[in-house]
């Protein structure tokens, strides 16, 4: 058990290191280096050379990678090329703003979609099930920017309840941001819910077909108790990876939603930094997103290990896939 957790931790660290490696060398491979970026096209050769020397770009690329990685581990990502401020400061402000819309969206989204999924699965084939399934299918087919546009039209223009966009920039205070988090959060909930609902529905149907569900029903438990007490908790297990992928996506790439609402979070910072080619910030965003992705997946795996003793042995995956195949048939 401990060995399993140890291996899992080690692979996470390796994945993170590889991701940082790719990010650093992909940025190095871009045409034109930071010195040319900073000085513009009209800079003389000597000016660029001096700038390179100042920034330490002359050093061997591996040495610079080691230095950058060393800084990144301690949370120091250098300074922004545009504003000249420290990258980590800008990054944390933006990340905390993103968390402000992402955390409520995650909590509400997961809760709501698990319940809807169990509900649809338990009434398989009825109009409730078809209704929920169709709504989920439509929700996953409509791009986020459309959902955001429609929400703005309905709840900010026709019925002006919430502000349509955030007017304050990155320095906006909490009281300015609070009314503005509702619409972005709803958009995120709609975007992530569909996948979890579908996975949970399918998993609930499998769960209701198992022998322990039949046993529970035969010993005279009510249908409601069988569903929520016996089937639903274990049906969440196979949905965990779906949830973790959605959460990682939500925290890493809320680009579209933040751009529509002009919300000063990580995604907006990403778009702005792409247009200004602020490479240190982009590197830092990429590493932070990779960290979130890896941690969320790690947490999901550890939760699955804690909840399901079968996963602690090596051959569990085979046995599980066979039983689920029988259940779907």
């Amino acid at each position: 058990m401990l060995r399993l957790i140890g291996t899992r931790l080690a692979t996470s660290v390796i994945t993170l290191f590889l991701a940082a490696f790719f990010v650093f060398f992909a940025v190095q491979a871009l045409p034109g280096d930071v010195a040319e970026q900073l000085l513009g096209q009209n800079a003389t050769e000597e000016a660029v050379a001096t700038m390179r020397e100042q920034l330490g770009l002359d050093a061997n690329v591996w040495v610079r990678f080691a230095e950058w990685l060393g800084g990144a581990v301690t949370g120091d990502f250098g300074t922004s090329l545009v504003s000249g401020e420290s990258v980590s400061g800008t990054l944390w402000t933006a990340f905390s703003h993103t968390l402000l819309i992402a955390v409520p969206a995650i909590v509400v989204g997961i809760g709501l979609s698990l319940v809807l999924g169990v509900w649809a699965g338990s009434r398989r084939g009825t109009s409730t099930d078809s209704g929920i399934s169709i709504i989920a299918l439509v929700a996953m087919s409509i791009p986020e920017f459309v959902v955001a546009t429609v929400l703005i039209l309905l709840l900010a223009i026709i019925a002006p309840i919430f502000p349509a966009v955030v007017l304050g920039g990155p320095g906006a205070s909490l009281s300015e941001l609070l009314p503005a988090i509702v619409l972005p959060a709803i958009t995120l909930v709609i975007a992530m819910a569909a996948y979890i609902i579908r996975a949970m529905r399918s998993s609930t149907i499998d769960g209701l077909a198992t022998e322990y569900a039949t046993t529970a029903e035969l010993k005279g438990l009510t249908r409601r108790r069988v569903l929520w007490r016996h089937v639903a908790p274990s049906a969440i297990l196979p949905v965990l990876p779906v949830i973790s992928i959605n959460v990682a996506w939500l925290l890493g790439g809320v680009v579209v939603v933040e751009s529509v609402f002009n919300y000063p979070g990580l995604g907006k910072l990403m778009i702005d930094s792409v247009s200004t080619r602020d490479l240190p910030i982009l590197q830092a965003i990429a590493v932070l997103s990779a960290l979130v992705y890896v941690s969320v997946n790690l947490i999901a795996d550890l939760l699955a290990l804690a909840a399901d003793p079968r996963q602690r042995t090596l051959h569990s995956s085979q046995r599980r896939s066979r039983s689920s195949k029988e259940a779907t048939a």
């Binding site: 992909a26 920017f145 546009t149 039209l153 890493g252 579209v256 997103s289 890896v294």
Partner: protein
Amino acid sequence: MIRLRDLTVGTRVGLTLVGLTVVIAVLAPWLAPYDPIATDADNALAGSSWSHWLGTDQYGRDVLSRTIEGGRFALLVSLVATTAAVVVGTLIGAIAAYYGRWVDAATTRVLDAVLAVPAVLALLLIVSVFGNSLWVLVLAISVVYVPAVARVVRGATRPVLSTGYVTAARARGERSLPIIRREVLPNILDTILVEFAMRASWVVLLVSTLSFLGFGVNPPTPDWGLMIQENRTALTVAPAGTLAPIVTLSLLVVGLNLAADGLGKYLGVDRARRGVI
């Protein structure tokens, strides 16, 4: 082979929606009543009328013509990029699973690391550096989706490798690549097909998202994502300019999703269980 009679109603609706969109996109230059990029300043933001069924946008361009032509670029990019991503991903996944051991372990780690970097960041950076030509977009989108496809194919290949016919082929002394091509690939074709349909729906969404963010097609070209971006400021004055591309884009993706679901059910690949990756 897939027989049309055996498909569910949903699948048929989905295939019809996709087919219709593709036909309209191909025939668009003959179907569109006006030149989609011809401006008419006197007639800007007009409501619907007999001459302009869906009205005009802020430059007086005919919304119906732009909507009819608006799917061409997205469909072309999606088709080429999805095919590229699925083909390359399948090869990587099948080879990693076949050779196993350190090849598999190394590939898995690398794919995981690429997946950990946010796709949109990579896309935006590639497009902002290398421009937004068709081939750059195709390359960028395939790079983003190859790891995910490879992971799925790797998972589907592993059970096939322990079957009798693969062992028999190995015992006959066949080489690795012919085994992958003749024994493994035909048996994971169902997974690959469903994968293709699923990826296609996400790629369409991704392409239109890029256009919406200003990193896709260049402005005068009609494109649904771009139209929504351009016209949404005039949402209350001339709603058709925003709603028409929303409806067509959503119908296409709903169609793709229905087709992917139906195909998955028909071929016995449960898709809902899998989520995004």
